[in-house]
Each structure stands twice: as structure tokens, then as C-alpha cells.
């Protein structure tokens, strides 16, 4: 059927040993895995915090582009933290339509 040199036998045994060891460890890790609770919180925490988010995170919200994200950061550094979501309306580029679109993805804490 096939013939093997001593080195080839060694290599095959080594690879099979690795596959066995790997699958054994993986099996134990899966079997004894637990669900780790990070924090008890409300479901709304998934929203982007208008006062803490950086530019990239703000740009991740559908409806906020690079310019508006920069203006939000500028507004925050000039006038301090947002107290109310309505303050967003005073930022240039945030029309009534855009405000309705983005407000569901944002929160003010």
C-alpha cells in the first residue's frame, strides 16, 4: 500500500499527536466554557454616548459623516458636554430630517 522512512513515520506521528492534543484541549475549553457577565446594565447602553465618543465612533453612526463628527467634537470642546439631545440641532449640517435619523443611535449621559 505504502512505505515510509523512519523520519516520515516520526513526522506523521508528531502531526497526529498535535491534532489529538489540540482537539483534546479545544474540547475541554468548549465543554467548560462559561458565559461571563461583564456588567449589569440597561439595553440602551449600546447607543453611542454623544459626550464620550471620539470622531471615528461618531462617524460609525449612520447619518454622521466626517464633517458633522468634527463639528460635534468642536462643539463639545467649546461649549462643554451636551446636556440634551436637542442641542444637536444647533450644529451646522444637522437638519430636522438628519436629526430624526441619527437620534436613535445616540444617547446623552
Amino acid at each position: 500500500m505504502f512505505s515510509l522512512t523512519r523520519q516520515e513515520k516520526g513526522v506523521i506521528l508528531f502531526l497526529l499527536a498535535m491534532a489529538l492534543a489540540g482537539s483534546g484541549i479545544s474540547f475541554l475549553r468548549k465543554k467548560y466554557s462559561r458565559v461571563e457577565t461583564v456588567i449589569e446594565c440597561g439595553i440602551n447602553t449600546w447607543k453611542v454616548d454623544l459626550n464620550k465618543a471620539d470622531k471615528e465612533m461618531l462617524m460609525g453612526v449612520p447619518g454622521i459623516g466626517e464633517k458633522i463628527a468634527s463639528r460635534i467634537i468642536e462643539y463639545r470642546s467649546e461649549k462643554g458636554a451636551f446636556k440634551d439631545m436637542e442641542e444637536l440641532r444647533s450644529i451646522k449640517g444637522v437638519s430636522a430630517y438628519r436629526f430624526e435619523k441619527i437620534k436613535e443611535s445616540l444617547s446623552v449621559k
Binding site: 505504502f2 497526529l16 482537539s23 465543554k31 466554557s33 462559561r34 447602553t45 449612520p62 443611535s105
Partner: protein, 474 residues
């Protein structure tokens, strides 16, 4: 003849099949494997006994790997869905793990889950899930997202090759539906390995080049042939190619990898690089191409075989097709043993297996070498390759697609050369776009014409009497 890997791959596969049929206790099987391993190490010098022990060990390793693959960890996202309720409203954070695709006004992709917000608690989680988003948000592979939607457990299908079984073979057990675009927040970019991001960027660039230069229907065929992107192919054309048994050209397979390897070697030879360097560059490019096309089973198989062949020549050892095929099989199955039940895997290996086993035997039987005219000899060889492939895959096609396609042998004789031409035009267009943009219209027009010809030939063949038989309706 030295074909140790072939025997190991066969015993390993039998182990997987046995484990899929009956439930076996992992601990006891693992204990047997350890005993077999110790005995194999002890009887290293006994030729026959060692061979028997090593085949037994490969068989038991197959069982162990499948048993392990079937265990779903408690932290997997699917375990968040209560058993008595099939769906759960929640928020999930994770990284996009596949190229986002768009079909029927929905964007879909695989998400690697990291955190979940369920019932007022945030918990770490793991596992992949299939995400559907209504509309077409701008999303890219490797982005980290927070999504709000409905999580559902995938219910196993009774069909042998149902979509749920396909997903389960890919270790995806849940679906997440996002109804609004604003329920998607991108928090970080480029969270995937650098090589995968490079492959994803390259794929997007190639897609753009094809879309810019070629009209939509033809572009969809070219994208499928070069990148394995099938979602834009008109359903009518796809069905027609299934009926002629030529749909294999619409997925990236060994055929495409062979063409890429050929073009690369030719190009590197032209610029007179030393052989060793040429093979190193070709290997790296083939691996990159494999990643660009999503590393599906046929591409992975062909890439491994091509790399084994090239490096075999390099170290001056005669490469063996059977061993290379077995190595590719073991490589894929060790990573995910469930792939043995994937139709793409079965068709890919069955076709290559029949070409390397059946074709030489048929060739010898029909004494093709005695044909004096070279053209006739080549034509007969082409027919025999196509016939061997058809014989090898006929059973699988009949079983899964409920089709019997006698036209396949004839169709492949016309369609495969056309597909080669289209693929060559496609790759030339991409190279020309980067290095000689003025030449790209020539290649794009040639590709368009060749695809048009392919449509015509295929629609003519499918209309021939007894071209195909639908077994489901009979």
C-alpha cells in the same frame, strides 16, 4: 509507490463518517487514540504493524475531530436564545467576518460575536452568526459593529443539503435580523488580520475595475469566474448552466487557480527571475488569490495542490497527484471536519479524484496514444477528461440537484475553452488597468464578446433534446 497520505486521508474520512452516524463517547475514544498512539510509537520499526496502527489512529482522530467540532461552547451566541423561544431581541457587538453581500434589498454577512446585551446585562460571547440588514449600509470586512435586532436559532433542515445544514457546516447556528439601518453602529475599522484586510481591499478594487469596464450582465459572470462572487448572476443564466453541468466555471475552482499559476509563472519567467524566487513569489501570490476569493474548498484544494507541485519541483522530488490531493483533503478536514458533508467539497474532490484515477485508465484502455493526428489526440483527451469528471460527479449531481445531465460532456468541450478565454481576458484587464490603462478597453471588449458567446452556446446546448433530465419530476 509511496502514497501514505492517501491511505491516511481515507481512514480519517471514514472516522468522520462514523462519528456523524452514531454518537460516540469522547472520553473513551480519546483513550483509544492514546493507546493507539503509544503502540504506534512502540512499533515504529515493525513495517506492517505500524501501518495498521497508524491507519487506526487516523480513523480514531477523524472521530475525535468531528466529535469536538460538534460541541457548541456555552458562550456561543446561539446559547443566548432560550430553548423554549426561537427568537430573542438583543444587541450584539462583533467584527464582520465575511465580505458583505447584497441581494433582495438585504445586506448579509457573517459576524464574529464578541459581546451581547441581553436582558439588562452585558456578557462576553463567541461564535459566528449570519446577519441580515434591511437596505444597503456601507459596511466593509473587518469593521467592528454594534447591532440591534432579533436573534434566531437556525432550525435544522431535513434536506441533505439544506441551507441550514450548509450554515451548520460553517459553524453558524444563529441568524440576526436588523430591521433598520440606524440600528447599526460602526465603532472601529480594520479589526481583522492584516493579510485578510489586504485580500478584502484587493477584492473590492478588482470588483470596481470589472464594474467600470464591463456591462452588468457580463460583469456578473466575470466576477464569478475571477472572484467567486455569484450573487449578481441573473438566475436564468445560472439555472441554464446548472442544466448543462457547466456551472463549475462560475465558481473559483482549481481551473482558475491553474490559470493564475500559469500566468504568474509565465510573467515571472519573462522577467527572468531565478527559479527559486519565482516559485516563492508564485506561492505567495496564489495564497493571496486564495484569500481574495474567500478560501472556499475548491480554491483551497487547488492552492495546496499547486503549492505542493511547485515545491516538489523545487526540491527535486517527483510530485505525486494522489498524495497532493490527499494532503489538501487532510488540511481542509483537520481545520473543519464538517466540510466532508459540504457539497462543494464533495464535488471538488470527486471531480479531481476521477480525473487522476479514471482518466489515465480510460486513456490506456482506448489507446489514445496510438492516434497519429495530434489534433485528434488532443480532442479525444479533452473528451475523456470531461467524461471522467462527469462520471465522478454524476451520482452527487443526481443526488443533490436531482438532475441527470448527459449534455455535460459535450458542453464542457465548448464551454471550458470559452471560460479559459474569459478568465484570461479578465486577468489581463485587471493587469492592464494597473499597468497599461490604455489597453484595458481591448481586453474588456474581448471579455464581453466571449461572455456573450458563452451565453449563446449554453442556451443552444440546453435546448438540445435529451440535454438534461429532471429527476425530481419523473
Amino acid at each position: 509507490m509511496k502514497r501514505p497520505l492517501l491511505a491516511l486521508a481515507i481512514f480519517f474520512s471514514f472516522g468522520i463518517i462514523l462519528a456523524s452516524l452514531i454518537s460516540l463517547p469522547f472520553g473513551w475514544i480519546y483513550f483509544c487514540a492514546l493507546i493507539l498512539f503509544i503502540l504506534s510509537a512502540l512499533f515504529l520499526k515493525k513495517e506492517l504493524l505500524f501501518k495498521l496502527l497508524i491507519c487506526g489512529l487516523a480513523f480514531v482522530t477523524g472521530i475525535i475531530l468531528l466529535c469536538n467540532a460538534q460541541v457548541i461552547p456555552k458562550s456561543d451566541i446561539v446559547n443566548f436564545v432560550p430553548l423554549n423561544n426561537n427568537s430573542l431581541s438583543c444587541v450584539i457587538q462583533g467584527v464582520i467576518n465575511s465580505e458583505p453581500d447584497f441581494k433582495d434589498n438585504k445586506t448579509f454577512f457573517v459576524l464574529k460575536a464578541e459581546k451581547a446585551w441581553v436582558k439588562n446585562r452585558k456578557a462576553n460571547c463567541s461564535g459566528n452568526l449570519l446577519v441580515y440588514i434591511k437596505g444597503r449600509p456601507r459596511l466593509v470586512y473587518g469593521e467592528e459593529l454594534i447591532l440591534k435586532g432579533e436573534l434566531r436559532r437556525i432550525v435544522a433542515s431535513n434536506k441533505k443539503q439544506g441551507y441550514s445544514n450548509y450554515l451548520s457546516n460553517q459553524n453558524i447556528y444563529s441568524v440576526f435580523a436588523v430591521k433598520e439601518k440606524h440600528h447599526v453602529i460602526m465603532i472601529k475599522k480594520n479589526q481583522a488580520p492584516k493579510i485578510m484586510l489586504l485580500a478584502s481591499g484587493l477584492k473590492a478594487k478588482i470588483k470596481r475595475i470589472i464594474s467600470l469596464n464591463i456591462i452588468p450582465a457580463q460583469a456578473s459572470i466575470l466576477k464569478a469566474m475571477i472572484l467567486g462572487e455569484k450573487s449578481a448572476i441573473p438566475q436564468q443564466i445560472y439555472n441554464s448552466m446548472v442544466k448543462t453541468g457547466t456551472v463549475h466555471i462560475l465558481v473559483v475552482s482549481g481551473f482558475n487557480v491553474g490559470i493564475v499559476a500559469f500566468i504568474l509563472n509565465l510573467f515571472l519567467k519573462l522577467i527572468r527571475l531565478p527559479r527559486r524566487l519565482r516559485f516563492v513569489i508564485a506561492t505567495l501570490c496564489l495564497i493571496l488569490y486564495c484569500l481574495v476569493t474567500g478560501a472556499s474548498n475548491p480554491v483551497l484544494r487547488a492552492t495546496i495542490m499547486a503549492v505542493v507541485f511547485m515545491w516538489g519541483f523545487l526540491i527535486e522530488r517527483e510530485p505525486d497527484q494522489h498524495n497532493a490531493l490527499a494532503l489538501a483533503m487532510l488540511f481542509i478536514l483537520v481545520i473543519n471536519p464538517k466540510q466532508l458533508f459540504d457539497i462543494g467539497f464533495q464535488l471538488s474532490f470527486a471531480s479531481v479524484f476521477s480525473i487522476i484515477f479514471l482518466y489515465p485508465k480510460l486513456k490506456a484502455l482506448l489507446r489514445l496514444e496510438s492516434l497519429k493526428l495530434r489534433f485528434l489526440r488532443n480532442l479525444a483527451s479533452g473528451c475523456l477528461v470531461s467524461f471522467s469528471c462527469w462520471i465522478g460527479t454524476m451520482g452527487l449531481v443526481a443526488c443533490y440537484f436531482r438532475l441527470f445531465t448527459p449534455i455535460t460532456v459535450l458542453a464542457n468541450l465548448f464551454i471550458v475553452p470559452l471560460a479559459t478565454l474569459i478568465t484570461l481576458c479578465g486577468f489581463s484587464l485587471i493587469f492592464a488597468y494597473f499597468f497599461l490603462p490604455a489597453f484595458s478597453p481591448y481586453f474588456s471588449q474581448s471579455a464581453e464578446m466571449a461572455v456573450m458567446l458563452l451565453f449563446c452556446v449554453n442556451s443552444f446546448l440546453v435546448k438540445l433534446p435529451w440535454a438534461y433530465f429532471n429527476l425530481a419530476s419523473n
